[in-house]
């Protein structure tokens, strides 16, 4: 039970740290609580850094007033669409280029160029093409997700064990069956390995897109608050987004656990 106790005390320290950060934040920013040692005006710190109590009040209001759900939903839809479209495109093009060396050689410099480009600057173009709705955010997310998945799939297909491949051929697999039963599963294992990254980037694409111009979404809430110098709401938005990202990450971990049963894990023994 030793390890259990350790993880419990670890958890306690983690919570303590979180509480300490918020208490510190409160003490420094609450007007008049401390003598104004740096800013001349006691309200100055609150103006710049927000006040945790007001931030939590805002979050409380969002969730119990029901205002936030519509925005969270929009952000979630954008994230998931960007993730799925980017993943499917990445898998398809990754497998194709990995199996067609000629095409791969031709496209190689362009893929490197597009990957090197800071893709956030595409956002204005996507706004022009797809408008300020969901589509432009999805497009931005897709450009981010695509390359992660693409490079992983490309690598995955290239690194299929030649023996496994030869074995499948000897067992009578046609080229199509090789694709379905050997290349695709092998590539998928690399896709799953990059799942955390690609979901994270889909989320980044959605939020940044919203922030740059939108009428809905959590990024839009932050944008609005920033426009009226409402720092508390900005911080509230940041906290909600962080929590949201953590939930997404947790769901991905669950999915990963289910999908990757065939991969060796370090500890497989069972205590009797």
């Amino acid at each position: 039970m030793r390890s259990n106790g350790n993880s419990l005390s670890l958890r306690a320290w983690q919570v303590l740290l979180l509480v300490a950060v918020f208490v510190g934040w409160h003490v420094i920013t609450a007007p008049g609580l401390l003598p104004a040692f740096y800013f001349g005006d006691p309200h100055r710190a609150a103006f710049l850094f927000g006040e945790p109590l007001k931030v939590f009040g805002r979050i409380w209001h969002w969730f119990f007033g029901g205002e936030i759900y519509r925005h969270l939903w929009v952000t979630l839809v954008e994230t998931l669409l960007a993730f799925f479209i980017g993943t499917v495109l990445g898998i398809a093009i990754g497998i194709w280029l990995a199996l067609a060396p000629k095409a791969s050689a031709i496209f190689d410099p362009y893929i490197k160029a597009i990957n090197a480009m800071p893709r956030v600057i595409l956002a204005p173009i996507f706004f022009v093409w797809f408008g300020l709705g969901i589509a432009s955010k999805v497009a931005l997310g897709v450009t981010l997700v695509f390359f992660i998945v693409f490079f992983n799939v490309y690598q995955g297909v290239k690194e299929v064990s030649p023996v496994v491949l030869a074995n499948a051929r000897m067992l009578g697999a046609s080229p199509r069956q090789l694709l379905r039963y050997v290349y695709l599963p092998s590539a998928m294992s690399w896709v799953f390995a990059s799942l955390h990254n690609s979901v994270g980037l889909a989320f980044v694409g959605a939020v940044v897109g919203e922030y740059l111009g939108s009428a809905e979404g959590v990024g839009y809430l932050i944008l609005q608050a920033e426009g009226v110098f409402d720092v508390n709401t900005v911080f509230a938005g940041i906290l909600v987004l962080t929590a949201f990202a953590l939930v997404l990450d947790w769901v991905v971990s669950l999915a990963e656990k289910r999908l990757m049963v065939w991969q060796p894990r370090s500890s497989e023994t069972e205590r009797i």
Partner: protein, 276 residues
């Protein structure tokens, strides 16, 4: 046993005639390596042939040519009298290294060949379970390759290869990575499975004892590069054999001494080349 080209090749299960394999480095075409030169190997239906030779002598190359995975630079391959084009569909190949699909469990690995032939899943699973029991792994069907021991994985590979009932079995040092006890068990199991329907077998190994214990005929290859057969020995030990016990018979010892004598110089040559 005639190995003269053309003669008897029509009736042979597998006839490799005057095979040469030269590999050319992709970056520098002047860099060549001739693994095999002028090698002829004819295997009769139902015959168990072992090919022994020092490490790095091109034994696997020979097997890959027989499997249709590698095109020889020169020479012809006939399978049951027909020239081989592409993959040898009448052969099963047991690889030296891990060849199981890691994302499939043991049962799904075993039935892969049936799946490729589009056998109905119910029927495939029934056959797969039967083979699982036959190789002594009943109840391990849902394990993934990484959850199985080396010996178990080899059994799965064996079942995977045999389930599609190939007429020729190509084996590339399949038991080299196993410990000696597991190895002898597997060798006996192989002989038992083989005696049931007498496929033609080409068994590659660097272990002379294993070669003699299993085969009807032992072919000795010279050290590479430019490996070629330097001797052929009929093994007339009685069957059924127990590989652990047969090693102790005087007949075995005599054959071993004879073949080892022929091989020794080549082994030393191969060793010297690898040290360079």
């Amino acid at each position: 046993m005639s190995s003269a080209p053309g003669l008897g090749a029509a009736a042979a299960a597998l006839a490799l005639e005057r095979i040469s394999c030269t590999f050319v480095a992709r970056e520098d075409r002047s860099q060549r390596y001739t693994a095999l030169r002028d090698t002829t190997l004819v295997v009769a239906p139902g015959e168990f042939v072992s090919v022994v030779g020092p490490t790095g002598c091109g034994k696997s190359t020979l097997l890959n040519v027989a499997a249709g995975l590698l095109n020889p630079s020169a020479g012809t391959v006939h399978v049951f009298g027909e020239p081989l084009a592409g993959i040898n569909t009448r052969a099963g190949y047991l690889f030296q290294t891990e060849a199981l699909m890691p994302w499939r469990n043991a049962l799904d690995n075993i039935i892969a060949g049936l799946e490729f032939r589009e056998v109905a899943r119910e029927a495939a699973l029934a056959q797969g379970n039967e083979w699982l029991k036959r190789v002594g792994l009943g109840g391990f069907g849902d394990r993934y390759p990484h959850q199985l021991s080396g010996g178990m994985r080899k059994r799965v590979s064996l079942a995977q290869t045999l389930i599609v009932n190939p007429q020729i079995l190509l084996m590339d040092e399949p038991f080299a990575a196993l410990d000696i006890q597991t190895r002898q068990l597997m060798e006996n199991e192989l002989l038992e499975l083989w005696s049931a329907d007498r496929k033609s077998v080409v068994f590659i190994t660097h272990d002379l004892e294993e070669a003699i214990a299993l085969a009807d005929r032992v072919v000795v290859l010279s050290a590479g590069p430019e490996a070629h057969p330097i001797g052929e020995y009929a093994i007339d030990l009685p069957r059924p054999r127990d590989v652990a016990e047969i090693r102790l018979t005087p007949q075995f010892v005599q054959l071993h001494t004879e073949i080892w004598h022929a091989m020794k110089d080549e082994v030393l040559k191969g060793y010297a080349q690898q040290r360079q």
